[in-house]
Assembly symmetry: none
Homo-oligomer: 199 residues x 2
DNA sequence: GCTGAATGAGAACAAAAGGAGAACATTACA
DNA sequence: TGTAATGTTCTCCTTTTGTTCTCATTCAGC
Protein backbone atom coordinates (compact mmCIF):
# COMPACT_ATOMS: atom_id res chain seq x y z
CA UNK A 1 0.00 0.00 0.00
CA UNK A 2 1.65 3.21 -1.15
CA UNK A 3 1.75 6.36 0.90
CA UNK A 4 -0.41 9.36 -0.03
CA UNK A 5 2.27 10.87 -2.16
CA UNK A 6 3.21 7.53 -3.64
CA UNK A 7 -0.35 7.05 -4.74
CA UNK A 8 -0.32 10.44 -6.41
CA UNK A 9 2.78 9.42 -8.31
CA UNK A 10 1.07 6.21 -9.42
CA UNK A 11 -2.05 8.09 -10.49
CA UNK A 12 0.04 10.44 -12.57
CA UNK A 13 1.90 7.52 -14.13
CA UNK A 14 -1.39 5.94 -15.15
CA UNK A 15 -2.78 9.15 -16.60
CA UNK A 16 0.41 9.98 -18.44
CA UNK A 17 0.87 6.53 -19.91
CA UNK A 18 -2.77 6.36 -21.00
CA UNK A 19 -2.34 9.67 -22.72
CA UNK A 20 1.12 9.36 -24.22
CA UNK A 21 1.76 5.65 -24.43
CA UNK A 22 5.05 5.92 -22.58
CA UNK A 23 6.16 6.75 -19.12
CA UNK A 24 7.02 10.30 -18.05
CA UNK A 25 10.50 11.46 -17.13
CA UNK A 26 11.31 12.04 -13.48
CA UNK A 27 11.34 15.74 -14.11
CA UNK A 28 7.84 15.64 -15.56
CA UNK A 29 6.53 13.77 -12.53
CA UNK A 30 8.27 16.26 -10.27
CA UNK A 31 6.82 19.26 -12.05
CA UNK A 32 3.31 17.86 -11.98
CA UNK A 33 3.41 17.04 -8.27
CA UNK A 34 5.37 20.20 -7.45
CA UNK A 35 8.37 18.34 -6.17
CA UNK A 36 11.66 20.12 -6.63
CA UNK A 37 14.00 17.18 -6.69
CA UNK A 38 14.28 14.24 -9.05
CA UNK A 39 15.87 12.30 -6.23
CA UNK A 40 12.67 12.49 -4.22
CA UNK A 41 10.61 11.28 -7.14
CA UNK A 42 12.97 8.40 -7.64
CA UNK A 43 12.45 7.31 -4.06
CA UNK A 44 8.70 7.02 -4.70
CA UNK A 45 9.31 5.00 -7.82
CA UNK A 46 11.53 2.59 -5.95
CA UNK A 47 8.86 2.20 -3.29
CA UNK A 48 6.24 1.44 -5.97
CA UNK A 49 8.57 -1.09 -7.51
CA UNK A 50 9.13 -2.77 -4.14
CA UNK A 51 5.39 -3.28 -3.90
CA UNK A 52 5.21 -4.83 -7.32
CA UNK A 53 3.14 -2.05 -8.85
CA UNK A 54 5.66 -0.91 -11.43
CA UNK A 55 8.85 -2.17 -13.04
CA UNK A 56 11.88 0.04 -13.57
CA UNK A 57 14.37 -0.45 -16.37
CA UNK A 58 17.54 0.86 -14.79
CA UNK A 59 19.11 4.06 -16.03
CA UNK A 60 16.80 4.30 -19.02
CA UNK A 61 14.87 7.46 -19.77
CA UNK A 62 11.14 6.78 -19.34
CA UNK A 63 12.04 3.32 -18.15
CA UNK A 64 8.94 2.80 -16.02
CA UNK A 65 6.37 0.18 -16.83
CA UNK A 66 3.04 -0.39 -15.12
CA UNK A 67 2.45 -3.91 -13.91
CA UNK A 68 -0.89 -5.69 -14.13
CA UNK A 69 -1.72 -4.85 -10.54
CA UNK A 70 -1.63 -1.15 -11.37
CA UNK A 71 -3.21 -1.21 -14.82
CA UNK A 72 -4.79 2.01 -15.93
CA UNK A 73 -8.50 2.52 -16.11
CA UNK A 74 -9.62 1.04 -19.40
CA UNK A 75 -10.82 3.16 -22.25
CA UNK A 76 -14.42 2.04 -21.97
CA UNK A 77 -17.93 3.42 -21.99
CA UNK A 78 -21.07 1.63 -20.87
CA UNK A 79 -23.07 0.18 -23.74
CA UNK A 80 -26.67 0.60 -22.79
CA UNK A 81 -28.27 -1.20 -25.67
CA UNK A 82 -29.96 -0.67 -28.97
CA UNK A 83 -32.17 2.22 -29.82
CA UNK A 84 -34.72 2.24 -32.57
CA UNK A 85 -37.57 4.53 -33.36
CA UNK A 86 -40.74 3.59 -31.60
CA UNK A 87 -39.41 1.15 -29.07
CA UNK A 88 -37.71 1.40 -25.70
CA UNK A 89 -33.96 0.97 -25.49
CA UNK A 90 -33.19 -2.71 -25.65
CA UNK A 91 -30.51 -4.09 -23.44
CA UNK A 92 -27.84 -6.06 -25.26
CA UNK A 93 -27.21 -9.24 -23.30
CA UNK A 94 -23.62 -10.00 -22.50
CA UNK A 95 -22.23 -6.70 -23.73
CA UNK A 96 -22.56 -4.06 -21.09
CA UNK A 97 -19.51 -2.06 -21.92
CA UNK A 98 -17.56 -1.25 -25.02
CA UNK A 99 -13.82 -0.81 -25.24
CA UNK A 100 -13.19 2.02 -27.64
CA UNK A 101 -9.51 1.23 -27.88
CA UNK A 102 -10.38 -2.09 -29.49
CA UNK A 103 -12.32 -0.22 -32.12
CA UNK A 104 -9.79 2.39 -32.89
CA UNK A 105 -6.35 1.94 -31.51
CA UNK A 106 -3.96 -0.44 -33.21
CA UNK A 107 -0.51 -0.30 -34.72
CA UNK A 108 -0.12 1.59 -37.97
CA UNK A 109 -3.30 3.58 -37.80
CA UNK A 110 -3.88 7.25 -38.28
CA UNK A 111 -6.75 9.68 -38.59
CA UNK A 112 -7.81 11.75 -41.57
CA UNK A 113 -10.37 14.51 -41.60
CA UNK A 114 -12.61 14.13 -44.62
CA UNK A 115 -13.25 17.11 -46.85
CA UNK A 116 -16.05 16.99 -49.38
CA UNK A 117 -19.08 14.86 -50.02
CA UNK A 118 -17.64 12.06 -52.09
CA UNK A 119 -18.58 9.35 -49.56
CA UNK A 120 -21.79 10.85 -48.29
CA UNK A 121 -23.97 7.90 -49.26
CA UNK A 122 -21.84 5.66 -47.08
CA UNK A 123 -22.49 7.95 -44.15
CA UNK A 124 -19.11 9.67 -44.27
CA UNK A 125 -19.84 13.37 -44.24
CA UNK A 126 -17.75 16.47 -44.79
CA UNK A 127 -15.70 17.05 -41.65
CA UNK A 128 -15.90 13.48 -40.37
CA UNK A 129 -12.83 11.64 -39.20
CA UNK A 130 -11.82 8.31 -40.66
CA UNK A 131 -9.40 5.90 -39.04
CA UNK A 132 -7.02 4.48 -41.60
CA UNK A 133 -4.83 1.44 -41.23
CA UNK A 134 -1.66 1.77 -43.22
CA UNK A 135 -1.67 -1.07 -45.75
CA UNK A 136 -0.73 -1.62 -49.38
CA UNK A 137 -3.43 -4.14 -50.23
CA UNK A 138 -7.15 -4.18 -49.66
CA UNK A 139 -10.12 -6.44 -50.20
CA UNK A 140 -12.63 -5.78 -52.91
CA UNK A 141 -15.23 -3.29 -51.79
CA UNK A 142 -13.17 -1.78 -48.99
CA UNK A 143 -12.97 1.96 -48.53
CA UNK A 144 -9.37 2.91 -49.19
CA UNK A 145 -7.06 5.86 -49.28
CA UNK A 146 -5.63 5.61 -52.78
CA UNK A 147 -2.86 7.59 -54.41
CA UNK A 148 -3.35 8.11 -58.13
CA UNK A 149 -0.24 8.69 -60.22
CA UNK A 150 1.64 9.37 -57.01
CA UNK A 151 -0.11 12.69 -56.62
CA UNK A 152 -3.78 12.73 -55.88
CA UNK A 153 -5.00 11.13 -52.68
CA UNK A 154 -8.65 10.16 -52.59
CA UNK A 155 -11.08 8.28 -50.39
CA UNK A 156 -13.00 5.75 -52.47
CA UNK A 157 -14.38 2.24 -52.59
CA UNK A 158 -12.00 -0.16 -54.27
CA UNK A 159 -13.06 -2.55 -57.00
CA UNK A 160 -10.53 -4.83 -58.67
CA UNK A 161 -11.52 -5.80 -62.18
CA UNK A 162 -10.84 -9.10 -63.91
CA UNK A 163 -8.50 -7.54 -66.45
CA UNK A 164 -6.26 -6.23 -63.67
CA UNK A 165 -7.46 -2.66 -63.81
CA UNK A 166 -8.93 -0.89 -60.81
CA UNK A 167 -12.16 1.04 -60.41
CA UNK A 168 -12.57 3.64 -57.70
CA UNK A 169 -16.15 4.41 -56.76
CA UNK A 170 -17.35 7.40 -54.82
CA UNK A 171 -20.42 6.94 -52.63
CA UNK A 172 -22.14 9.84 -54.31
CA UNK A 173 -24.38 9.34 -57.30
CA UNK A 174 -23.25 12.61 -58.86
CA UNK A 175 -19.68 11.32 -59.16
CA UNK A 176 -19.05 8.64 -61.77
CA UNK A 177 -16.74 5.71 -61.00
CA UNK A 178 -13.23 6.05 -62.39
CA UNK A 179 -11.24 3.22 -63.94
CA UNK A 180 -7.45 3.13 -63.88
CA UNK A 181 -4.64 0.87 -64.98
CA UNK A 182 -3.36 -1.08 -61.99
CA UNK A 183 0.03 0.62 -61.89
CA UNK A 184 -1.49 4.08 -61.60
CA UNK A 185 -3.25 3.39 -58.32
CA UNK A 186 -1.43 2.74 -55.08
CA UNK A 187 -3.37 1.77 -51.98
CA UNK A 188 -2.04 3.63 -48.99
CA UNK A 189 -4.45 2.50 -46.35
CA UNK A 190 -7.80 0.95 -45.57
CA UNK A 191 -10.54 2.72 -43.65
CA UNK A 192 -11.30 0.66 -40.55
CA UNK A 193 -13.49 3.12 -38.72
CA UNK A 194 -15.10 6.48 -38.74
CA UNK A 195 -16.19 8.93 -36.10
CA UNK A 196 -17.69 12.33 -35.68
CA UNK A 197 -18.12 14.81 -32.88
CA UNK A 198 -21.13 17.07 -32.52
CA UNK A 199 -19.30 19.61 -30.38
CA UNK B 1 11.01 1.09 -27.02
CA UNK B 2 12.43 4.05 -28.92
CA UNK B 3 13.72 7.18 -27.27
CA UNK B 4 11.83 10.46 -27.55
CA UNK B 5 13.70 11.52 -30.60
CA UNK B 6 13.53 8.07 -32.13
CA UNK B 7 9.77 8.14 -31.77
CA UNK B 8 9.62 11.50 -33.51
CA UNK B 9 11.61 10.04 -36.38
CA UNK B 10 9.16 7.13 -36.60
CA UNK B 11 6.16 9.44 -36.49
CA UNK B 12 7.63 11.50 -39.29
CA UNK B 13 8.33 8.38 -41.32
CA UNK B 14 4.73 7.25 -40.99
CA UNK B 15 3.32 10.64 -41.90
CA UNK B 16 5.69 11.12 -44.81
CA UNK B 17 5.14 7.68 -46.29
CA UNK B 18 1.38 7.95 -45.98
CA UNK B 19 1.45 11.32 -47.67
CA UNK B 20 4.01 10.70 -50.41
CA UNK B 21 4.00 6.96 -50.91
CA UNK B 22 7.73 6.63 -50.33
CA UNK B 23 10.20 7.18 -47.55
CA UNK B 24 11.97 10.51 -47.01
CA UNK B 25 15.68 11.13 -47.48
CA UNK B 26 17.87 11.49 -44.44
CA UNK B 27 18.21 15.19 -45.13
CA UNK B 28 14.42 15.61 -45.17
CA UNK B 29 14.11 13.88 -41.83
CA UNK B 30 16.92 16.03 -40.48
CA UNK B 31 15.36 19.24 -41.71
CA UNK B 32 11.96 18.39 -40.28
CA UNK B 33 13.34 17.50 -36.85
CA UNK B 34 15.91 20.30 -36.96
CA UNK B 35 18.87 18.01 -36.79
CA UNK B 36 22.02 19.28 -38.47
CA UNK B 37 23.70 16.01 -39.28
CA UNK B 38 22.62 13.12 -41.48
CA UNK B 39 24.81 10.87 -39.38
CA UNK B 40 22.69 11.56 -36.34
CA UNK B 41 19.53 10.73 -38.25
CA UNK B 42 21.05 7.52 -39.46
CA UNK B 43 21.77 6.48 -35.91
CA UNK B 44 18.06 6.78 -35.10
CA UNK B 45 17.13 4.73 -38.13
CA UNK B 46 19.52 1.99 -37.10
CA UNK B 47 18.03 1.96 -33.62
CA UNK B 48 14.52 1.65 -35.06
CA UNK B 49 15.68 -1.19 -37.27
CA UNK B 50 17.26 -2.97 -34.30
CA UNK B 51 13.87 -2.91 -32.63
CA UNK B 52 12.16 -4.34 -35.67
CA UNK B 53 10.10 -1.27 -36.37
CA UNK B 54 11.54 -0.49 -39.79
CA UNK B 55 13.64 -2.21 -42.44
CA UNK B 56 16.56 -0.49 -44.17
CA UNK B 57 17.71 -1.33 -47.66
CA UNK B 58 21.41 -0.56 -47.40
CA UNK B 59 22.86 2.42 -49.23
CA UNK B 60 19.64 3.04 -51.15
CA UNK B 61 18.12 6.48 -51.26
CA UNK B 62 14.72 6.41 -49.52
CA UNK B 63 15.45 2.81 -48.62
CA UNK B 64 13.35 2.74 -45.46
CA UNK B 65 10.31 0.54 -45.11
CA UNK B 66 7.85 0.50 -42.23
CA UNK B 67 7.25 -2.84 -40.58
CA UNK B 68 3.88 -3.85 -39.24
CA UNK B 69 5.20 -3.87 -35.75
CA UNK B 70 5.54 -0.10 -35.56
CA UNK B 71 3.85 0.66 -32.29
CA UNK B 72 1.01 3.08 -31.91
CA UNK B 73 0.15 4.90 -28.75
CA UNK B 74 -2.86 3.82 -26.79
CA UNK B 75 -5.80 6.19 -27.12
CA UNK B 76 -3.84 8.58 -29.28
CA UNK B 77 -3.70 8.44 -33.04
CA UNK B 78 -1.78 10.73 -35.35
CA UNK B 79 -3.93 13.15 -37.31
CA UNK B 80 -2.36 13.30 -40.70
CA UNK B 81 -4.48 15.95 -42.30
CA UNK B 82 -7.42 16.45 -44.58
CA UNK B 83 -8.25 14.28 -47.53
CA UNK B 84 -10.39 15.37 -50.41
CA UNK B 85 -10.93 13.95 -53.84
CA UNK B 86 -8.40 15.10 -56.36
CA UNK B 87 -5.83 16.64 -54.08
CA UNK B 88 -2.96 15.41 -51.94
CA UNK B 89 -3.50 15.02 -48.23
CA UNK B 90 -3.26 18.43 -46.64
CA UNK B 91 -1.48 18.80 -43.36
CA UNK B 92 -3.46 20.42 -40.58
CA UNK B 93 -1.22 22.92 -38.84
CA UNK B 94 -1.12 22.72 -35.08
CA UNK B 95 -3.10 19.50 -34.76
CA UNK B 96 -0.94 16.49 -35.31
CA UNK B 97 -2.60 14.05 -33.02
CA UNK B 98 -6.01 13.24 -31.64
CA UNK B 99 -6.62 11.99 -28.17
CA UNK B 100 -9.63 9.74 -28.57
CA UNK B 101 -10.21 9.46 -24.86
CA UNK B 102 -10.66 13.21 -24.59
CA UNK B 103 -12.91 13.07 -27.58
CA UNK B 104 -15.31 10.52 -26.28
CA UNK B 105 -14.80 9.36 -22.75
CA UNK B 106 -16.51 11.13 -19.88
CA UNK B 107 -18.20 9.73 -16.81
CA UNK B 108 -21.72 10.82 -17.81
CA UNK B 109 -21.65 9.28 -21.27
CA UNK B 110 -22.74 5.99 -22.72
CA UNK B 111 -22.95 4.25 -26.06
CA UNK B 112 -26.02 3.17 -28.00
CA UNK B 113 -26.10 1.00 -31.06
CA UNK B 114 -28.48 2.45 -33.61
CA UNK B 115 -31.06 0.22 -35.23
CA UNK B 116 -32.90 1.41 -38.28
CA UNK B 117 -32.54 4.15 -40.82
CA UNK B 118 -34.28 7.03 -39.12
CA UNK B 119 -31.14 9.23 -39.06
CA UNK B 120 -29.59 8.08 -42.31
CA UNK B 121 -29.57 11.52 -43.89
CA UNK B 122 -27.45 12.78 -41.01
CA UNK B 123 -24.93 10.05 -41.69
CA UNK B 124 -26.03 7.81 -38.84
CA UNK B 125 -26.56 4.40 -40.35
CA UNK B 126 -28.10 1.18 -39.13
CA UNK B 127 -25.59 -0.46 -36.80
CA UNK B 128 -23.65 2.70 -36.01
CA UNK B 129 -22.79 3.61 -32.45
CA UNK B 130 -23.71 6.95 -30.96
CA UNK B 131 -22.15 8.43 -27.85
CA UNK B 132 -24.79 9.99 -25.65
CA UNK B 133 -24.26 12.41 -22.84
CA UNK B 134 -26.80 12.02 -20.08
CA UNK B 135 -28.75 15.30 -19.93
CA UNK B 136 -32.33 16.47 -19.55
CA UNK B 137 -32.12 19.57 -21.68
CA UNK B 138 -30.83 20.15 -25.16
CA UNK B 139 -30.34 22.96 -27.62
CA UNK B 140 -32.59 23.38 -30.59
CA UNK B 141 -31.49 21.20 -33.47
CA UNK B 142 -29.49 18.77 -31.35
CA UNK B 143 -29.81 15.04 -31.89
CA UNK B 144 -31.33 13.65 -28.73
CA UNK B 145 -32.45 10.43 -27.15
CA UNK B 146 -36.05 11.23 -26.29
CA UNK B 147 -38.56 9.24 -24.32
CA UNK B 148 -42.16 9.66 -25.46
CA UNK B 149 -44.91 9.04 -22.91
CA UNK B 150 -42.28 7.35 -20.77
CA UNK B 151 -42.21 4.37 -23.08
CA UNK B 152 -40.76 4.82 -26.51
CA UNK B 153 -37.12 5.83 -26.84
CA UNK B 154 -36.14 7.38 -30.14
CA UNK B 155 -33.20 9.09 -31.72
CA UNK B 156 -34.34 12.33 -33.35
CA UNK B 157 -33.49 15.95 -33.94
CA UNK B 158 -35.11 18.21 -31.39
CA UNK B 159 -37.09 21.30 -32.32
CA UNK B 160 -38.73 23.42 -29.64
CA UNK B 161 -41.74 25.30 -30.91
CA UNK B 162 -42.94 28.74 -29.81
CA UNK B 163 -46.13 27.38 -28.30
CA UNK B 164 -44.13 25.12 -26.00
CA UNK B 165 -44.72 21.96 -27.94
CA UNK B 166 -41.88 19.84 -29.28
CA UNK B 167 -41.24 18.48 -32.76
CA UNK B 168 -39.05 15.44 -33.29
CA UNK B 169 -37.60 15.12 -36.76
CA UNK B 170 -36.06 12.04 -38.26
CA UNK B 171 -33.29 12.54 -40.80
CA UNK B 172 -35.14 10.47 -43.33
CA UNK B 173 -37.51 12.06 -45.82
CA UNK B 174 -39.84 9.06 -45.69
CA UNK B 175 -40.55 9.69 -42.03
CA UNK B 176 -42.68 12.74 -41.24
CA UNK B 177 -41.82 14.96 -38.25
CA UNK B 178 -43.92 14.32 -35.16
CA UNK B 179 -45.25 17.04 -32.88
CA UNK B 180 -45.90 16.44 -29.20
CA UNK B 181 -47.07 18.38 -26.19
CA UNK B 182 -44.06 19.32 -24.08
CA UNK B 183 -44.98 17.07 -21.16
CA UNK B 184 -45.08 13.97 -23.33
CA UNK B 185 -41.42 14.22 -24.35
CA UNK B 186 -38.53 13.81 -21.99
CA UNK B 187 -34.96 14.30 -23.15
CA UNK B 188 -32.71 11.58 -21.80
CA UNK B 189 -29.47 12.49 -23.46
CA UNK B 190 -27.77 14.40 -26.22
CA UNK B 191 -25.72 12.77 -28.95
CA UNK B 192 -22.18 14.14 -28.73
CA UNK B 193 -20.48 11.75 -31.10
CA UNK B 194 -20.87 8.84 -33.42
CA UNK B 195 -18.61 6.10 -34.65
CA UNK B 196 -18.55 3.05 -36.81
CA UNK B 197 -16.25 0.13 -37.37
CA UNK B 198 -15.72 -1.51 -40.72
CA UNK B 199 -14.53 -4.80 -39.26
C1' DG C 1 10.39 15.23 25.69
C1' DC C 2 11.68 11.07 22.15
C1' DT C 3 11.13 8.13 17.93
C1' DG C 4 10.11 6.89 13.47
C1' DA C 5 7.69 7.58 9.23
C1' DA C 6 6.68 10.66 5.48
C1' DT C 7 8.14 14.23 2.74
C1' DG C 8 11.32 17.33 0.60
C1' DA C 9 15.86 19.72 -1.14
C1' DG C 10 20.00 19.34 -3.20
C1' DA C 11 24.76 17.66 -4.24
C1' DA C 12 27.41 14.43 -6.79
C1' DC C 13 28.13 10.93 -10.19
C1' DA C 14 27.58 7.53 -14.16
C1' DA C 15 25.20 6.56 -18.01
C1' DA C 16 22.07 7.59 -21.61
C1' DA C 17 20.36 10.75 -24.99
C1' DG C 18 21.10 13.93 -28.35
C1' DG C 19 23.99 16.39 -31.55
C1' DA C 20 28.01 18.05 -34.89
C1' DG C 21 30.97 17.02 -38.29
C1' DA C 22 34.65 14.61 -40.81
C1' DA C 23 35.64 10.96 -43.90
C1' DC C 24 34.40 7.47 -47.01
C1' DA C 25 31.46 4.35 -50.04
C1' DT C 26 27.74 3.96 -52.87
C1' DT C 27 23.98 5.52 -55.61
C1' DA C 28 21.42 8.73 -58.47
C1' DC C 29 21.29 11.38 -62.35
C1' DA C 30 22.26 14.89 -65.93
C1' DT D 1 30.99 8.99 -67.54
C1' DG D 2 31.70 12.12 -64.23
C1' DT D 3 29.74 14.83 -60.57
C1' DA D 4 26.60 15.80 -57.01
C1' DA D 5 23.81 13.81 -53.72
C1' DT D 6 22.94 10.22 -50.55
C1' DG D 7 23.82 6.80 -47.15
C1' DT D 8 27.15 4.99 -43.70
C1' DT D 9 30.53 4.84 -40.10
C1' DC D 10 33.29 7.09 -37.07
C1' DT D 11 34.88 10.10 -33.05
C1' DC D 12 34.21 13.83 -29.95
C1' DC D 13 31.21 16.76 -27.36
C1' DT D 14 27.30 18.77 -24.33
C1' DT D 15 23.08 18.19 -22.09
C1' DT D 16 19.79 15.47 -19.86
C1' DT D 17 18.41 11.71 -17.09
C1' DG D 18 18.48 8.33 -13.63
C1' DT D 19 20.56 7.12 -9.36
C1' DT D 20 22.45 7.35 -4.76
C1' DC D 21 23.57 9.91 -1.11
C1' DT D 22 23.05 13.12 3.09
C1' DC D 23 20.59 16.50 5.64
C1' DA D 24 16.32 19.00 7.10
C1' DT D 25 11.45 19.50 8.33
C1' DT D 26 7.01 18.10 9.82
C1' DC D 27 3.86 15.36 12.28
C1' DA D 28 1.69 11.58 14.77
C1' DG D 29 1.96 8.56 18.62
C1' DC D 30 3.96 6.82 22.72
Amino acid sequence: MPTDRGREVLDFLRAYIARHGRAPKLREIARHLEIGSRGTVHRYLRALEAEGLIAIEPARARGVRLRRKAAARPFVLPLLGRIAAGRPIEAVPGADEIDLSEFFVAPNRFVLRVAGDSMVEDGILDGDMVIVEWRETADNGAIVVALIDGQEATLKRLQKNHDGSVTLRAANSTMPPMRYAADRVRVQGVVVGQFRSYR
